[in-house]
């Protein structure tokens, strides 16, 4: 791999517009087949709910979060569309990475910071995103992308809030990226 020039490597990513069209078609298929769009954070919610229930069987009665989750999901909490979808995402990402030769265990970070610092921010970012996705009823895939595909007002608002805030804060975190 090391003798392939960097520009060549990046060309092995799909043209973004083509990627966008393909993504749109996947989303369209999801809407046609399942009557719903894609998503991601919901799968995490399912796993969390399942784990809480396993450890604490009565959680539905003691934790309002669990009660609220049970209302909208009948049956076992892991039997959720998103859980199956996210398992597929792992597989699909792996296959694509394998084909393109991008499989590599590493911490990706700007050369100007250490990998430790990158990991700290990844953890903080993930925590915030996890919290935000629950409050916002979806993440960029579920609320913003899928929401926009069906013209949902809530989806649009969330998307604008996400991107607007990220832009607003970009200056403060620039050291991590550029």
């Amino acid at each position: 791999m090391s003798d392939i020039t960097k520009t060549e490597r990046s060309r092995r990513y799909l043209n973004p517009y083509l990627g966008g069209v393909l993504l749109g078609l996947v989303l369209l298929a999801a809407n046609f087949i399942a009557g719903r769009g894609l998503g991601a954070s919901g799968a995490i919610k399912s796993v969390v709910a399942t784990s809480i229930e396993v450890v604490h069987k009565d959680a539905v009665n003691t934790m309002p979060f669990m009660a609220e989750y049970a209302e909208s999901h009948s049956g076992s909490p892991m039997r959720s569309w998103l859980v199956f979808e996210m398992l597929g995402v792992l597989v699909g990402g792996f296959i694509s990475g394998a084909i393109a030769g991008r499989l590599k265990l590493k911490v990706e970070h700007s050369p100007k910071i250490t990998s430790g610092r990158r990991l700290v921010f990844a953890l903080m970012g993930g925590t915030l995103f996890g919290l935000g996705s629950q409050i916002g009823r979806g993440c960029t895939s579920g609320s913003a992308l899928s929401g926009m595909g069906v013209l949902s007002l809530g989806g649009f608002i969330t998307m604008m809030a996400i991107f607007g805030t990220a832009y607003a804060l970009a200056y403060f975190f620039r050291r991590n990226w550029i």
Binding site: N31, F32, I33, M124, M148, L151, A170
Partner: protein
């Protein structure tokens, strides 16, 4: 006549199986477009890489055009397709928190799974963070509950709330997206970064 699952044309189990395959396609497209790299994802906020904008909005308008055409041909009943509900307060607050998470972590849930799948440790740590965040929400839910349920507006579409037809709004969105792409390409040329 779609959508297939809500119309009972396919069973729930088939639906879940297909969800898995749709997920495979989703993950594949994400990774192939470069969404497994946090530096590419963050690039839109600094101008050097507009992949997020291009893929995201192209995806949204492709799906939207597709749905509207399918409805036009009678292939899908749009009333049975899930439209995300609008809870005004939590949509904004959640979005703001997510935006902070995005610029700090450089991922979102879907892309972090994709990154983790190809071995990116920062993506895996991000996923760990996601779990922490969701557990946190679960255990502190009563704090959020009031805000979480505030200002429920139903499931309006943007076109409805602006008082225009879906098709017209679609055209406007397409034009807006294309203009954004033009600006984004200009920015990419202006703020180039070394490859990563």
């Amino acid at each position: 006549m779609g959508p297939l699952a809500p119309n009972g044309i396919i069973s729930e189990n088939t639906n879940f199986l297909l969800a898995f395959f749709i997920g495979i396609a989703f993950g594949f497209v994400l990774e192939s477009s470069g969404f497994s790299s946090s530096r590419k994802l963050a690039g839109i906020f600094y101008g050097y890489d507009a992949v997020v904008l291009k893929v995201f909005f192209t995806g949204a308008i492709t799906c939207m055009v597709g749905l509207l055409f399918m409805s036009l041909f009678g292939w899908i009943d749009l009333d049975l397709v899930y439209v995300n509900p609008t809870y005004l307060t939590s949509a904004i607050i959640g979005g703001v928190i997510m935006g902070a998470g995005f610029i700090m972590g450089g991922f979102c849930p879907g892309t972090s799974f994709t990154g983790a799948a190809i071995g990116k440790i920062d993506a895996m740590v991000f996923v760990g963070g996601l779990f922490i965040g969701v557990y946190g929400f679960a255990f502190t839910y009563p704090w959020w509950e009031k805000m979480y349920m505030a200002k429920y507006l139903g499931e309006p579409k943007v076109s409805e709330s602006l008082g225009m037809k879906d098709g017209l709004f679609g055209l406007l969105l397409i034009i807006a997206a294309l203009l954004m792409f033009v600006v984004a390409e200009w920015a990419e040329k202006k703020f180039p970064r070394e490859e990563y």
